[in-house]
């Protein structure tokens, strides 16, 4: 009888991850989530402090004009530039927060895969497997909750 070889896809392999590989999935997932989370915090901080930056830049602009470093038209041009940058500092939050959200979700999916692999691994003790399953469920709940029930909104003046 002829044997037909079927190539296993990544989905077939997922629950069969060995202990080491599952641990790697969890660690890499956490790393990805931390990196994108940091990006998210920086982006939010830049947006929150945009008006403070604009105030500072306006004052610098005013002093440079008073000192005669440039004329009124250059002053007006710089003022418009400051306004444009301030608006971009606000709006970049939408772009980077969405990128970060995708990145964090990918990281958390890695974590879920790792924890699920722990949960289905019969070489690990029963309690650890149960806890792993609960953690995987919680992470999945977190992903779904943040995806469906929170939006990213900024006001550009």
């Amino acid at each position: 009888m002829e044997k037909k070889q079927v190539k296993a896809s990544i989905f077939d392999k997922l629950p069969l991850l060995d202990k080491n590989r599952a641990a790697k999935f969890v660690i890499y997932g956490l790393l990805i989530a931390i990196i994108f989370g940091t990006m998210m915090m920086i982006s939010r901080s830049v947006a929150d402090n945009s008006s403070q930056w604009a105030d500072l830049a306006d004052k610098e602009n005013q002093i440079s004009y008073w000192n005669g470093e440039y004329g009124y038209n250059d002053y007006i041009e710089r003022q418009q530039e400051i306004l444009r940058i301030e608006n971009w500092m606000n709006y970049q939050d939408v772009i980077f927060m969405n990128i970060a959200r995708i990145g964090i979700n990918i990281g958390l999916i890695f974590c879920i895969t790792g924890f699920l692999s722990f949960a289905v691994n019969d070489k690990i003790d029963e309690n650890t497997r149960k806890i792993s399953l609960i953690i995987a469920g919680l992470i999945l709940f977190l992903i779904m909750f943040t995806t469906f029930f929170s939006g990213i909104y900024v006001a550009v003046g």
Binding site: K24, Y65, W66, N67, G68, G71, Y72
Partner: protein, 217 residues
């Protein structure tokens, strides 16, 4: 390979540093920065007046610093379009009688005065008697206190009188600066520098993973 990577990193860092420096130095290009002496006959014939030609392209302006500090001298600065100037030149028209002077903005810097718009005014002539300094911005025309960008060929003309009797010379200083490619070069250099640095880092990472035989997972 290591040497190539070091060179790439060095080049990208040089580009990142060079960008703002070029931006600073080429933001404005100095066309003229010198002292002039012209005759009193400049007051009666535009052919004898000091004339400096320049060309403006879209979104470009010139800054003119006009100053004089000599007794008895009255110096006037006007800006004409090249066509009007050529017409007046051919007819030997006195500069004061030429119609069609272009408007510009002049600034008077007063430290601490928060009414910044009040420190700038539009005008078509600036006169210095014995002593004075004017900071002028010109882009082709004005609308209120704002410059209107009209590309074209223009001529700065300075003429005047000397009431000193024997001395018939008009002494004045002019600095003319035109917008340069500084901002564009700054952005370009920084973009290329950062792009090169990121590409090198990615290349080094891939090479390292290949060399060590390690995958990510």
């Amino acid at each position: 390979m290591e040497k190539k990577i070091k060179i790439l990193v060095l080049v990208s860092i040089i580009l990142i540093i060079l960008g703002p420096i070029l931006g600073l130095f080429l933001n404005k290009i100095t066309l003229v920065n010198q002292s002039f002496v012209t005759s009193e006959t400049s007051n009666s014939d535009v052919q004898n007046a000091t004339a400096i030609e320049f060309t403006l392209v879209k979104n470009q302006k010139v800054v003119i610093e006009f100053s004089a500090f000599t007794e008895n001298v009255t110096a006037n600065l006007i800006i004409l379009s090249k066509g009007t100037y050529d017409l007046a030149y051919a007819a030997s028209t006195p500069p004061g009688s030429i119609s069609g002077e272009k408007y510009f903005i002049y600034s008077e810097f007063t430290f601490g005065d928060t009414n910044l718009a009040g420190q700038a005014s539009p005008d078509d002539i600036r006169t210095i008697t014995a002593e004075g300094y004017w900071y002028i911005e010109f882009a082709g025309g004005v609308d209120g206190d704002y410059l209107r960008y009209i590309p074209g060929d223009y001529v700065v003309i300075v003429y005047g009188t000397n009431s000193g009797g024997i001395n018939l010379n008009i002494y004045f200083d002019l600095v003319i600066k035109i917008d340069g490619p500084g901002k564009m070069l700054e952005t370009l250099f920084i973009l290329i520098g950062v792009g090169l640095l990121v590409a090198t880092m990615l290349f080094v990472t891939i090479e390292y993973l290949k060399k060590t035989g390690r995958g990510l997972l």
